[in-house]
């Protein structure tokens, strides 16, 4: 039995499947698959055709890529905007004609020819753009028709000029350099392509026009509501597409110097295949320049490989069509199911055994009704007061779910005012020595509120750990904090894997997903001190000024950690095997500590924590609202001595006022209570406590 438990523990510690969910949640996963496919194709090709990747082939491929890639980029822009452009092939043919007419027929020089070519491309794109952007026609059918129209124009004009184009050769070294020259061995056209791709990448990912384009493609209505000129953005996307296609056509004309009746025919299929294969999603809004280039290389390598193996053109058509179908199929299914798969595999439970509790230990937690008589403060005014704290003038502060810090005014706490607006849900609260209020805000970080109520940020990121797949530099769920005598702020982050709204789901994992972080105001640096803590929650300084206590909620344990002094770095268990899940820890009078238990252990959930396979199956098979969760509906307050013995337990027997308690604060003979899902603050009289004791005086020796 014991050995099988050990096996389970090891299996779920080292092969928990946590990384699968984390990798799936990364945004680069969309691009990883095409890149892997490209590598596979390259390896397969190198194995099938020996010596295929020689210098000549690569130079030839890079010239082809320059033209084909530019058209792929053109289509990418349009697809990102939520449309499609099938007329690229015909536009390309018309632009080639424009370039050759400029160079060979009219002989107006390279600059004017370039202008003509780009002009043709822009006009073609503008026609599409006006029809689709402003008249709101369907992109697919419209560009299918303009494909026919542009092609018809080409078919009308080309035969009349073909002989003139072939007869004359332009005398322009720049033109030849563009077509055949290389710069330190790199083809000039490829350099042009690389420069355009880089500029486009920066525009799409870093500049406002790119963001707007992706916004329109990703969610047209939302983009409109956000004030983006949707019609103009869509129209400009087609114009940009025409422009890039024209550039490709110019490079093509410079390389070949002539054109044929079939120039650009079927190009839309191969370019579309390239773009979709590269990972640009047809729904719009998803995709990048990198995606388009990867797809373009894939398609070029494939078609060149097929030509090398001397297959007929119809096979090429068959293969491209089949790849397009598969790529579109994969894209449709992937976009639809990615989040479903993710929500199934993201929860990755581990083995967590909590010892059984003895009868004697249970006896200390006998029920009473000491909290039943708690006097409510701010009933119905506050929602979700996770932590409560009092200042030197006896005013009471708490954070609310609405993103504010509310102040109740002494002495009767009947009047309240909004002290500060934070934005996120303030959780842990603590006063700095100078009277500033420090707070951990869920999803945001640690913030400081001065006496006037002005909010400023203290820390919202820490150092990134190198081997973590998910980005753990951002603070997701800072929970509680306390200030060391030298001013350093120690705070806990409960979990790096879940957002604030899903905090209970972390209980199903039972893994050390949390950490202890220190912010030093003198250097302004934030550093992670301890990792791998199981939902670290409450934090309080010990009276030696060199150590602190922190609670790990799901392991029902409170530990002591020395951050200074001779024992620096040491960590020992302060009290373990509590009957419930500890939340905040605060200091009490006479050298004691108060611990709030937000929920109670149950034999069922304890058993489930020893059965990770069961919890994993549960998370995969049934809906979230039917999962087995820890009991966080019943809690109590525990009074601990300086060495961790239980002195006293306070219950709310009826469970009406404070069924679950997340924080306590002793102040002048009263105990104040907060609850993260409660609608009030409670206060009970402590008959044996020192009526003059305040946490502030205990910490800073004054006030």
């Amino acid at each position: 039995m014991a050995s099988s438990d050990t096996l389970t523990r090891l299996r779920y510690r080292y092969l928990s499947g946590r990384l699968v969910g984390e990798i799936l949640s990364k945004s680069w996963i969309d691009s990883a698959i095409p890149v892997a496919a490209l590598l596979a194709v390259l390896v397969a090709l190198a194995a099938l055709i020996p010596g295929v990747f020689n210098a000549g082939y690569i130079a030839d491929l890079s010239r082809q890529l320059a033209e084909f890639g530019l058209v792929a980029l053109a289509l990418t822009i349009v697809i990102l905007s939520g449309g499609i452009d099938l007329s690229v092939g015909s536009t390309f043919a018309l632009c080639v004609l424009g370039a050759l007419v400029g160079m060979n027929v009219l002989d107006i020089g390279i600059a004017a020819s370039l202008a003509v070519t780009l002009g043709v491309g822009i006009v073609c794109g503008l026609v599409n753009g006006v029809l689709i952007g402003y008249l709101r026609l369907r992109a697919f059918i419209t560009t299918l028709v303009t494909l026919v129209i542009y092609r018809a124009i080409y078919d009308i004009v080309f035969p009349r000029l073909a002989s003139v184009i072939v007869a004359s050769t332009p005398d322009s070294p720049t033109w030849d350099y563009l077509g055949f020259g290389d710069f330190y061995g790199v083809p000039v056209s490829f350099i042009v392509f690389a420069a355009v791709a880089l500029a486009l990448h920066i525009t799409l990912s870093r500049l406002r026009p790119g963001w707007r384009l992706r916004a329109v493609g990703g969610a047209r209505k939302s983009a409109f509501n956000a004030g983006i000129d949707v019609k103009r953005t869509v129209c400009l996307a087609y114009v940009a597409s025409g422009l890039l296609t024209a550039m490709a056509a110019f490079l093509f004309s410079a390389r070949l110097g002539s054109t044929g009746a079939d120039t650009g025919i079927g190009m839309e299929i191969s370019v579309l295949t390239a773009v979709v294969l590269g990972g640009v999603s047809l729904g719009g809004g998803r995709g990048s320049v990198g995606n388009a280039i990867v797809g373009a290389i894939l398609v070029l390598v494939l078609t060149n490989g097929l030509i090398r193996m001397s297959t007929p053109g119809s096979v090429n058509q068959l293969v491209l069509g089949a790849i397009l179908i598969l790529a579109v199929l994969f894209d449709a299914k992937w976009v639809k199911n990615r989040s479903k798969i993710l929500s199934r595999v993201y929860v990755s439970p581990t083995y967590l055994a909590l010892p059984e509790r003895s009868k004697a230990a249970e006896a200390a937690f006998a029920l009473n009704d000491r909290l039943g008589a708690a006097e409510p403060i701010g009933l119905g005014i506050v929602e979700g007061p996770e932590d409560v704290v009092l200042d030197a003038d006896d005013n009471l502060y708490t954070g609310t779910r609405h993103g504010t810090i509310v102040r109740f005014l002494a002495p009767d706490y009947q009047r309240s005012e909004i002290f500060a607006r934070i934005g996120g849900h303030p959780l842990g609260l603590a006063f700095a020595e100078n009277g500033d209020l420090l707070t951990c805000v869920g999803g945001m970080g640690v913030y400081r509120v001065d006496r006037e109520g002005v909010v400023s940020r203290v820390a919202d990121e820490t150092n990134r750990s190198w081997l973590s797949v998910i980005d753990d530099s951002r603070l997701r769920l800072p929970d509680d904090l306390d200030v060391a005598p030298d001013g350093r702020i120690f705070f806990s982050e409960a979990t790096i894997r879940y957002e604030m709204a899903d905090w209970v789901t972390d209980a199903l994992e039972g893994r050390g997903n949390g950490r202890l972080i220190c912010h030093d105001p003198r250097s302004g640096k934030t550093q992670t001190v301890l990792r791998g803590l199981v939902f670290p929650n409450g934090i309080t300084m010990c009276r030696d000024g060199q150590s602190l206590l922190f609670a790990e909620t799901w392991t029902c344990r409170i530990s002591r950690y020395w951050f200074d002094g001779p024992n620096k770095g040491k960590r020992e268990v302060f009290t373990a095997n509590l009957p419930g899940y500890p939340d905040n820890i605060n200091r009490g009078s006479n050298g004691t500590f108060w611990v709030a238990l937000l929920g109670l252990r149950t034999p069922t959930f304890d058993l489930a924590m020893r059965k990770p396979a069961f919890r994993r199956r549960m998370a995969r098979r049934i809906a979230t609202d039917e999962w087995l969760f820890p009991n966080v509906n019943r809690g109590c307050v525990v009074h601990l001595s300086e060495t961790g013995e239980i002195l006293d337990v306070l219950w709310d027997q009826a469970g009406e006022n404070h069924p679950s308690v997340t924080s306590t604060c002793e102040h002048k003979g009263y105990l104040y209570l907060g609850g993260v899902s409660n609608n009030r603050i409670g206060r009970v009289r402590l008959p044996d406590a020192d009526p003059e004791w305040t946490a502030r005086r205990d910490t800073w020796g004054r006030g």
Binding site: L135, L137, I141, L144, V145, T146, I156, G321, V328
Partner: protein, 336 residues
Amino acid sequence: MSTSAETDSGRQRIRAVLRSQEGIVLLLAAAAFVLFSVLLPSFLSPGNLLALVRSVSILGILALGMALVVIARGIDVSMIAVMVVSVSWAFVITRAGYPFELALLIGAGFALLAGIAIGALIAFGEVPPIFATLAAGSVIYGTGRTFFFTLEMQNVPPDTDWFRLIGQGSLFGIPVTIVAFAILCVVVQLVLSRTRFGWTIYAMGNNPNAARITGLPVRPMIVAQYAISALIAYGAGLILASSASAINARLFNSTMIYDILLVVVLGGIGLNGGHGSVRNVVLGTVFVGILLNGMTILNIDYTIQNLVKGVVLLLAIVIDSIVNPRDEQTSQQGDL
């Protein structure tokens, strides 16, 4: 009092017809007919009119298949590929020594399979119809050219005289082609207006999500539509081959599929789906027939004809989108 109300409503109806796309196309068709009749002496001869209707019947038959799909908010641009490949294959098989009738059945089976595959891709793979059919057209044609036949022109096999009757014979003085088109029109009209199958097609076109939620078998219906349109394409291919004594695979590269779309869209079947009937197909067919015939008699260059058709189709789509604006509630993100 009552008579004036009646004339009012009658006037309103006329006005509504004139305002609708159908009315406009009807007027245009009539105008083109009158214009060609006056300008081109040979146009109005009975021989030319018969030739006009016959040549356009094949287009009409194909457009009926397309209309079924378009009314259900789909589109099928693979019809020509299915048509040329399945018919060519049937002829190749016959030349290889199989009985002609069996070969025709095999061709029909291929068309059916292709249609079902395309439909499954759209229904179960959730690939947008236009992508699925565009890519499938490429695949079907590539498959045909690679595995089934190498020659572009496939002649009708010898010793199949009854087959020639389809395209060249006549029934009571009316060419069989036109009779086939008329019969198919009646059948499709009855299916669309009288059967549950037809009503489901309209429901799917009006609001696919609502159709699905109310429990209609949307996925099998999609598969059925593409299978039917593939079969119709095969039938049209047989008639075409019969009348020309051969089938040309290069039709796949021609603008024939745009002609079909032209008929459907010009006739007034909105690409949004949900409305339109056989009447619209007939109307569109007649108009396109007059246009093509007139241009041919005028001896306009083929490439210029393409340009004219393209521009007319574009104008038709523009008018369609103004008359039947896209429904923002039921159109989806990425609905191209």
